[in-house]
Amino acid sequence: MKGLINDPEKVVDEALEGFARANSTIVALHTDPNWVGRAVKRESGVAVVSGGGSGHEPLHAGFVGDGMLDAAVPGAMFTSPTPDAILAAIEGADTGDGVVLIVKNYTGDVLNFEMAAELAEASGHQSRIVLVADDVAVENSTWTAGRRGVAGTVLVEKVAGAVSAAGGSLDEVAKAAEEMSAKVRSMGLALRGCTVPHIGEPGFELADDEVEMGVGIHGEPGRARVAMASADTLTDELVDAIIKDGEFTAGNRVIVLVNGMGATPAYQLDIVYRRVAQRLDDLGITIERSLVGNYVTSLDMEGVSVTLASVGEDMLKLWDAPVHTAAIRKGF
């Protein structure tokens, strides 16, 4: 593959080094094992820690900072971090008030975070795991490893961080994260697969006239391969699937995230957002807040995901609470 790479084996280490130097007032990089903490550790408060495979930048390290995460644990490309790295982050971030671990529902992530939580418990760290499983593309959890956690993770991390910043207890932070996790729904599509650097070939091949519908954030498929169509038609398919799945009816208020997968131009994300807004207007659903951009990417995958979360006044307040991270800044 062609890319701005020195050594395929070192892409994660080198990217983290660059990220940390570029954002040195916000984050501090710890190595061997890798985890990213805040530049200045808080003196008290429930630590919110997340992590997962690398290749989804700015998730998760980009969301470390005031009002959001206390630490992020990046694994190898598309590979969950190992228990010792997660444990190091827990030990480093815990102020003594406990740790909420926000975990995307993938077999590897769940296994490694569970093992780390057990190890942390043994050394006196209280923790709660909150699973994010917002991907509606995976319909029947009896026949799969369960719904995947995808772009909705950003919303869960944001509200957890807001409750913690407001002085919430371990239970309160976990509860807010669980509530958002239960409300948020996403679905994505890919126009072109992505390439893991040390493998050098695309994870899957799509013909010019094909779209992978219901794709996960590693490019792994979900629903079906469909024919290429207009932006509106494809967006409708995403919105329909989400609306059908969640509790989205006239009178609802929602947060919308239109997320780029890494190689989708900004103008195309805006075109998708336009259609999402039209559809929600038609349904009588009020868009309270919106976010459009690359927040949960899949390396160089060309594609988009749509996320909706139906929210009340309390959740909106948490969403609006000040945040200062490398990837999201507002209210400061």
């Binding site: 190992t82 993938y106 077999t107 590897g108 296994l111 995976v138 799969t144 040390h198 994870g203 979900g222």
Partner: protein
């Protein structure tokens, strides 16, 4: 003849060699139904295992298995790190200084149970369990019918190879491949295949 620490070390060396030789093949199998990192992760894990064993003094099988377990858990990541790590941890718990045929069968059964517990998986879900569970049954049957150590390991290895092959028509219901649903049928499960290579290395080490 019973098997001891030398066998475990030789097994590990051959397993590491297999992980390296089959790296690309396992990546390709995983690309078809997963995310393509299985060969990479396994090779990285076993390379590190060899490094760790070089610097450690290996006194008994249990200790070697424990070193392998902690190294795989801390270096592999993904699902296969904790799953294989748990398998080795269970083998460490059930291992004796000198392993007789019945001990080997019990050890493989412990590994199989550990994987099923950690992954909350059972047979027929197109995972590494489909190699380990039949291997454990075959090893127990061979030991019960009076096979020697090599005989028990041969039975386990053959059953694992057949078990891996049997994953081809299965529709995955666990792990990354489950998102493909029906489209996962027709492909071998990479975790079952790599597990069969690991058990094959156990036989070759004993011969």
């Amino acid at each position: 003849m019973a098997l001891g620490t030398d066998w475990v070390l030789q097994w590990t060396a051959l397993a590491a060699q297999a992980a390296h030789e089959h790296r690309v093949e396992l990546i390709e199998l995983d690309r078809a139904i997963g995310d393509g990192d299985h060969g990479e992760n396994l090779d990285r894990g076993f390379t590190e295992v060899e490094k760790q064993l070089e610097s450690a003094t290996a006194s008994d099988p249990a200790q070697v298995f424990r070193t392998i377990a902690t190294t795989l858990i801390s270096k592999v990541g993904g699902a296969s790190g904790p799953l294989l790590g748990t398998a080795y941890l269970r083998m460490s718990s059930s291992a004796k200084e000198q392993l007789e045929p019945g001990d080997l069968a019990a050890m493989i059964e412990a590994a199989s149970q550990g994987i099923q517990m950690r992954g909350k998986a059972t047979e027929g879900e197109k995972t590494m369990v489909d190699a380990w569970a039949p291997a454990a049954r075959a090893a127990a049957a061979a030991a019960a019918s009076g096979a020697d150590c090599i005989g028990v390991l041969e039975a386990a290895s053959k059953a694992a190879t057949d078990g891996a092959e049997n994953t081809r028509p299965m529709v995955a219901t666990k792990g990354r491949a489950s998102y493909l649903g029906e489209r996962s049928a027709g492909h071998l499960d990479p975790g079952a295949v790599s597990s069969s290579y690991i058990l094959e290395a156990a036989v070759r080490a004993a011969r």
